[in-house]
């Protein structure tokens, strides 16, 4: 941590507050925030409930991995059903809902227009919740489709699609009424996400269930879908959010629009071609795998440009992370994006895949993306947005700190355990003179370590949910100034962090 006194000089203000039109803008923002209150809080509250459910399930899944006899005598509690339920709850219940909540708020702010027809969105959120609930029930009852990331039975998928149609129609409406010509970087990402997701989801559903493709192509479609969901839906929302939050909190424009443009288009182009590297040496034409490996390596370009852009924007302002919860979470997430992509590039290389293919390392990779990157950025955005919706400040700095450190250590430990464990597992699998069970045995100690990480994350999420509940119902300590993680000297305390 840098020295305290260097932070005193930093202007902890929003840039626009000081300009002449500041007052009108502030009123306008307050109106926009007020119009988004109900739907966004609805999305957030649902997402947090799913997060808690998904977290408890994660603990079950992790624990049963090394203690397989625990709660195994009932069909709906068998490991092979709980695992997809955990995954789908996290992706569709938590990640998609919190992502949509944040995206709605950001869109309203950036289009500088109040939200029209909020009931459309509230209905969309309800339908989405019902869809996830149906899907979860379907998997538990033994109705899973057997396609990874698309385990929800078709009847749940239809409800999700209806829900999404309601949500997207609203987003289009908002864009129609936007003010100003400039389309900010965040809006590129959000528009992309909002348009890519339905296309992706519909295409995958169509090719798997309506007019099914033959044989192994189903697996290719599955990976194409899963990777694009991660990059073009969730990843795009998270990057867009980071592009908003970082400049906003430190009160400084993005370092380079030019870099941002390069980063965005290379991201859209290259990351959408990844996915097939997970099929390495499988029954596929080799060019498919090679193309995806090449695309994965090329994602270094968006990673480098986006990372550089964020870094240069933050240059000299890193000490603000000491105070601002939003910035701390967002920067952690943005840095994890780099780590996630580098791990992705490494494990896609054939020479490395030889050791880590078919091991727990792929679980480490997806958690780096979904948690260390996406979820942490979303936590950051909630710390920024929720006070503006409920009109209260966060209650306790201690709870925010606990949340941050439990999450950071939890995901760090988990990634480490699964990467090292995956490598160890792969090394023993690669030696045919050892019985295969040795490979499974060799990873079990790391899976126990992962259970410990799951406990940390569980603590972190329950703390956050508790804090969110206090905010929602206006309980606990009240404060008229924003809650900083650490005390700030007098002049900084009026700023909005």
């Amino acid at each position: 941590m840098p020295k305290m006194n260097s932070a005193v000089d930093i202007p902890l203000k929003e840039p626009s507050v000081s300009v002449a039109a500041g007052d009108t803008e502030q009123i306008e923002r307050a109106l926009i925030d007020a119009s988004t209150r109900v739907p966004v809080l609805m999305f957030y509250a649902s997402a947090i409930v799913w997060l808690l459910i998904g977290t408890v399930l994660a603990g079950f899944v992790s624990f049963k991995m090394h203690s397989p006899d625990w709660l195994s005598n009932v069909g709906f509690l068998t490991w092979g059903r709980l695992r997809p339920v955990h995954m789908n709850v996290m992706v569709y219940g938590w990640a998609s809902m919190v992502g949509m909540g944040t995206a709605i708020w950001l869109m309203a702010r950036l289009c500088r227009t109040t939200l029209r027809h909020p009931l459309l969105l509230v209905a969309g959120a309800w339908f989405w919740n019902i869809g996830v609930l149906l899907g979860v029930g379907g998997i538990l009852a033994g109705d899973s489709t057997g396609y990874q990331w698309l385990e929800f039975p078709p009847y749940a998928a239809i409800v999700l699609f209806v829900a999404y149609a309601l949500i997207i129609s609203w987003a289009v409406l908002m864009f129609r009424f936007r003010r100003g010509d400039q389309i900010y970087i965040t809006q590129w990402y959000l528009l992309g996400a909002f348009l890519w997701f339905p296309w992706l989801y519909a295409a995958a559903q169509f090719m798997l269930f309506v007019v099914p493709v033959q044989g192994v192509l189903q697996a290719a479609i599955g990976w194409w879908y899963a990777n694009n969901l991660l990059f073009l839906w969730l990843g795009a929302i998270a990057l867009g959010t980071a592009y908003y939050m970082i400049p906003k909190v430190i009160g400084r424009p993005v370092y380079s629009y030019h870099l941002a443009t390069i980063g965005f288009w290379t991201y859209a182009l290259f990351s959408s071609w990844t996915g097939m590297q997970h099929l390495v040496d499988g029954p596929f034409p080799a060019w498919m795998v090679t193309a995806s490996i090449a695309a994965t390596i090329l994602t270094i370009i968006p990673v480098a440009t986006v990372g550089l852009n964020h870094h240069m924007t933050m240059q000299g302002y890193f000490p603000v992370m000491r105070y601002s919860p939003t910035l701390r979470f967002t920067v952690f997430g943005a840095m994890s994006y780099t780590a996630f992509s580098i791990v992705g590039i490494l494990i896609s290389l054939r020479s490395v895949a030889r050791y880590v293919h078919f091991t727990e390392a792929s679980i480490a990779y997806s958690h780096l993306g979904l948690y260390a990157f996406f979820t942490m950025v979303m936590f950051g955005s909630m710390y920024y947005i929720v006070p503006r919706l409920v009109g209260r400040e966060w209650r306790y700095a201690t709870l925010i700190k606990l949340h941050f450190w439990a999450s950071a250590y939890g995901i760090g430990l988990m990634t480490l355990m699964l990467l090292v464990g995956g490598y160890v597992q792969g090394v023993s699998a690669n030696d045919p003179s050892l019985p295969y069970i040795e490979s499974t045995q060799s990873v079990l100690p790391y899976l126990r370590g992962r259970t410990l990480a799951a406990l940390l994350l569980t603590a972190s999420h329950f703390i956050f949910a508790f804090h969110f509940g206090l905010m929602l119902f206006g309980l606990g300590r009240t404060s008229s100034v924003p809650t900083f993680l650490n005390p700030v000297e007098a002049e900084g305390s009026e700023a909005h962090l």
Binding site: K64, M65, P68, S72, N73, G75, T78, G80, R81, R83, S144, T145, G146, Y147, Q148, Q182, I183, W188, L191, G192, L195, W196, W199, V213, Q214, G215, V216, L217, Q218, A219, A220, W224, N228, L232, T261, A268, L269, S272, W273, M276, H278, D281, P283, P285, M288, A291, R354, F358, E360, S362, A429, P432, S433, L434, P435, Y436, I437, T440, Q441, L444
Partner: protein, 291 residues
């Protein structure tokens, strides 16, 4: 960035490019394969599977077997799969043309199952395509001495493929012969016992038990023919027996149908004829396998 139109065209174009390249083109290339047959139109492979097996596939999918077991054999130059005797040749797209959902898998907490039906004792094989079965001696015949006894000498880890065709038909991960020794490995009875109580077969297994696919009932006039042979703590109390449900029978039928041993024209099989060329690394003594 100014103007919505370039943005929309770009968003549309990038995604269309990916869709076209990764789903449309592969579909043209391998999306319309037919089963292969010889000149007389016989010896067709693969064949669609029967009702019980198809139901078994759905049970396999519903209970998430795919999260720990793959069903694909990678080529010998790239991976250990063939060395582990999980198959004699790599899997090819044609092997899967009737599979829906296809269960390639992404993780191997347990061994690959692409050929698990092949490992069954020959008389038990019920798979529709058993034409190639005679290449192998039944696993049960040679398994007990080969299985757990002595590990292969460290000097020749590349036991390679000759072993498959000659001495050792026992898969590398074969469990030790059970103390009671009633059912041959990979027979239907063995699968049922394994699903009901994985740790009665292998102490170290972390596979969950699928007891909800079995039911306990009182023995009527005489023991059911398909009752599980259980010992120790797994055994039901006297007077009752554990029998598989219809779902369990379908699942086992599905497992026993998994067999990619039939040669494919587009894939080089590590059959006896092609052996010397296919595995240059094989040492002269490797043919003895796990002696």
């Amino acid at each position: 960035m100014k103007g919505l139109l370039p943005l929309f065209i770009g968003l549309f174009g990038t995604f269309a490019f990916s869709w076209f390249g990764l789903t449309f083109i592969p579909n043209l290339q391998i999306g319309n394969l037919d089963p292969q047959s010889d000149e007389e139109g016989t010896d067709v492979y693969p064949l669609p599977k029967s009702g019980m097996v198809e139901r078994g596939r759905r049970i396999y999918a519903a209970n998430g077997c795919i999260y720990c077991h793959s069903q694909q054999v990678r080529p010998d130059y790239a991976a250990y799969d063939i060395d582990r005797k999980w198959g004699e040749r790599r899997s090819a797209p044609r092997d899967y043309i009737f599979d829906r959902p296809v269960q390639l898998g992404k993780e191997r907490m347990g061994p690959d199952l692409a050929n698990v039906g092949k490992r069954a004792p020959a008389e038990e094989q019920k798979a529709p395509a058993t034409a190639g079965a005679s290449v192998l001696p039944p696993a049960g015949a040679t398994a007990p001495p080969a299985g757990a006894g002595s590990p292969p000498p460290a000097a020749s880890p590349a036991t390679a493929t000759p072993a498959i065709a000659t001495a050792n038909a026992s898969p590398a991960a074969s469990p030790p012969p059970s103390p009671t020794g009633e059912s041959a490995p990979y027979s239907a009875a063995w699968h049922h016992r394994h699903l009901y109580s994985p740790r009665s077969i292998n102490d170290d297994s972390n596979m969950p038990a699928y007891r909800f696919l079995y039911e306990k009932r009182l023995i009527g006039d005489e023991r059911s023919a398909d009752a599980l042979q259980l010992t120790g703590s797994d055994a039901p109390p006297a007077g009752s027996e554990i029998v598989p449900t219809y779902d369990a029978k379908c699942l086992v039928a599905y497992l026993m149908s998994l067999d990619q041993s039939h040669p494919l024209k587009e894939v080089k099989s590590a059959g006896p004829a092609t052996l010397p060329a296919a595995s240059p690394a094989a040492s002269p003594g490797a043919g003895k396998g796990a002696k």
